[in-house]
């Protein structure tokens, strides 16, 4: 019998951390408000009570030192999980992420292992405005040495977070704030999803939609709408953005001959540009239309719900984008 237990995305994260802390004493967590308070989104709830203040550590509001704590502890043999409350705050810690965590083992001639997981919460939709809503994954994917993970559902969250903790390279696990309450089937036993393996969320034959995090779910809604018009969408959720499962994307495009890339991040310079480039380099002869990118306009994330709802792409934007692509045939 299949385990039909349902769990929220936030608790899937929590359960992955808990299970890895149970089996591996070198795993510890550190970050702002994660101890007694359990994290501002409850992601670390109950962990300090279970594992103690030495393993679930409340830190000062010092993002550079939080990541540095993780780098130093990882390079000397522990398996740290360090939390940056909001993804926007990675900017405060960029030296430790980009110049230290990502490069140490390379600069040391390969003579270092950094089993470090940096967790953070990205994405908009909460009227949290320009400094608490960003999607900065493209910036991280550009840095050799990092792995970047963005789960779109509770099942993937648990499996990917488990993989991040077990990974011997620095990873950035980006939770989406609007998905924290999303529930879905999550097995109780520990399992991992390999980093760098995408997922065919919905098989289809007419157009490939590459979409990750919350946009993957919006693409599903769009696909149901388009199915009424006889457009059969195949949705690829890469799940890990660095390394990217290019093979899965290319094999899908070779079948559907159309591709649309969707992300919540600003369109210009976003990961959609990289994915579109890979598609045209590797599947140019299969394309019946230019690859389209759907993303946010070139502005900071606005505060007012009246603005933000039009800023972040949604199923309607995706439907329109796909209709435009298909109309070009």
């Amino acid at each position: 019998m299949a385990d039909e237990r349902k769990l929220a995305y936030v608790m899937a994260f929590n359960e992955a951390v808990k299970q890895q802390m149970e089996v591996d004493s070198s795993v510890f967590c550190a970050g702002e408000d994660i101890g007694a308070f359990g994290g501002v989104f409850g992601t670390f709830g109950g962990l300090q009570a279970k594992f103690g203040a030495d393993r679930v550590v409340d830190t000062p509001i010092s993002e550079q030192a939080i990541v540095g704590l993780g780098v130093g502890a990882a390079v000397t043999g522990l398996r740290p999980i360090v939390d940056l409350m909001f993804m926007d705050f990675i900017c405060v810690a960029l030296d430790q992420i980009v110049n230290q965590a990502a490069k140490l083992k390379y600069m040391f001639g390969g003579d270092a292992v950094l089993p470090l997981t940096i967790t953070t919460a990205g994405g908009g939709g909460l009227s949290a405005a320009a400094q608490h809503s960003q999607s900065l994954e493209a910036l991280l994917c550009h840095i050799p040495g990092l792995k970047v993970v963005m789960p779109s559902n509770p099942y993937d969250m648990k499996g990917l977070m488990t993989a991040c903790i077990q990974e011997n390279n620095p990873t950035v696990m980006i939770k989406h704030k609007r998905l924290l309450g999303m529930t879905g089937h999550v097995p109780e036993e520990s399992y991992s999803i390999p980093l760098g393996k995408g997922n065919i969320v919905r098989p289809g034959k007419d157009v490939t939609i590459v979409a990750y995090a919350r946009m993957s779910n919006e693409a599903l809604i769009a696909a149901e709408e388009l199915a009424k018009d006889g457009i059969d969408c195949e949705i690829i959720d890469p799940r890990t953005l660095q390394p990217l499962d290019t093979d899965l994307i290319i094999s899908s495009v070779k079948k559907t001959n159309h591709a649309v890339v969707v992300h919540e991040a600003v369109r210009f310079g976003g990961l959609g540009g990289e994915i579109a480039s890979q598609i045209q380099e590797l599947a140019f002869d299969y394309l019946d239309a230019p690859v389209t990118r759907i993303g946010a306009p070139f502005s900071p994330v606005p505060f007012s719900p009246a603005l933000e709802q039009h800023y972040i792409p949604d199923s309607k934007t995706i439907v329109q984008g796909i209709r435009d692509v298909m109309a070009r045939v």
Binding site: A65, L69, A73, Q96, M107, F108, G109, D111, N168
Partner: protein
């Protein structure tokens, strides 16, 4: 001088090794045989030697852009160091890091660092891990006076104290942040004044006196090892050469008199004179030590010269562990 003679000789040996390595690197750089930037430690030897002489082999240190001295003092191998400075495949970092990233994790040396101030948070992490494992190891963050003006230092110092970690902050105050004198960049004279702001003890030592540095380091390391938390040591020192290289593009930012005054306080010769005066050692003994170590540096240069360069297929090797990296 209460230190046993063998300890004094150990500190002397560490300093001479640093001096010889750095002088050799300087000569190679001047004859264009070293690629890239070179930040020499000459003049500051007493700090690395005095502190590392107080550490166990499995204690950790983080370093700075001026990092060769720290690695030598922690036991670094001349051959692999010189090969790395030349960008050779046999170097400590296989030619991927160079002078500014030289490291040996097996010696607990967690890397020179091209980013001013960035080593201190990493030392905090090492200190955290050391306490977590409970094996009694400590961590030392070496840093310059200039880096106490960057946020990373303050975050690291505060977090270390808030978490009461086994760490020593070892400041090499050489009075210049690159080319700018300290009094133009901070309103205090002594870096140690910052220690109180985080709730840790701090002490000023003569950074040209290896015995003084060592005694302060022993006390701070013992405090850390026994659960007494962080401390800060400010060693007043001076770099005999320039911020970068030996001639430093001919830039003039320090007076000849000032440089000459500090050179009269050379940490190695000062120690030798004292030990001879105290009949703890003889000139012949020191001459033999210099000759022995000088032979080692000549051998290292030959080793590095003869070593192969890394091949282009190595560019993407080591970006990820057990993975060749993104295309």
């Amino acid at each position: 001088m209460d230190l046993p003679v063998h300890v004094q000789l150990d500190l002397h040996r560490r300093m001479v090794r640093i001096r010889l390595f750095e002088e050799a690197a300087g000569r190679l750089a001047e004859s264009n045989r070293l690629p890239g930037f070179l930040h020499l430690y000459v003049g500051e030897e007493a700090v690395a030697a005095g502190v590392c002489g107080a550490l166990n082999d499995d204690d950790h240190i983080t370093s700075t852009h001026r990092g060769h001295g720290h690695l030598v003092a922690k036991g670094g191998d001349f051959n692999r160091m010189m090969a790395e400075l030349m960008g050779k495949a046999t170097g400590y970092c296989k030619g991927k890091g160079g002078s500014m990233h030289i490291s040996d994790t097996s010696l607990g040396m967690l890397g020179a660092n091209g980013i001013v101030g960035a080593g201190s948070p990493i030392a905090v992490g090492a200190a955290f891990a050391n306490r977590y494992r409970g094996r009694g190891q400590v961590a030392v963050a070496f840093f310059g006076d200039g880096s106490t003006n960057i946020g990373a230092f303050h975050e690291a110092a505060n977090m270390a104290c808030a978490l009461h970690l086994p760490i020593v902050f070892a400041c090499e105050n050489n009075e210049y942040g690159e080319f700018t004198p300290r009094d133009k960049t901070m309103a205090i004279t002594d870096i140690v004044d910052r220690a109180a702001g985080y709730g840790m003890p701090g002490v000023i030592v003569d950074g040209m006196d290896v015995i003084a540095v060592h005694e302060a380091a022993v006390e701070a390391v013992e405090r850390a090892r026994s659960g007494g938390g962080p401390s800060l040591i400010e060693a007043k020192t001076y770099r005999f050469y320039n911020h970068h290289g030996v001639q430093n593009l001919g830039l003039k930012y320090r007076s000849d008199d000032e440089v000459a005054m500090w050179k009269q306080r050379d940490p190695i010769f000062t120690l030798e004179d004292r030990m001879i005066e105290n009949k703890a050692a003889t000139r012949d003994q020191f001459d033999a030590i210099w000759a022995e170590l000088r032979a080692g540096i000549e051998a290292a240069i030959a080793f590095a010269d003869e070593s192969p360069y890394p091949t282009p297929d190595q560019i993407t090797v080591g970006v990820y562990t057990s993975m060749s990296g993104a295309s």
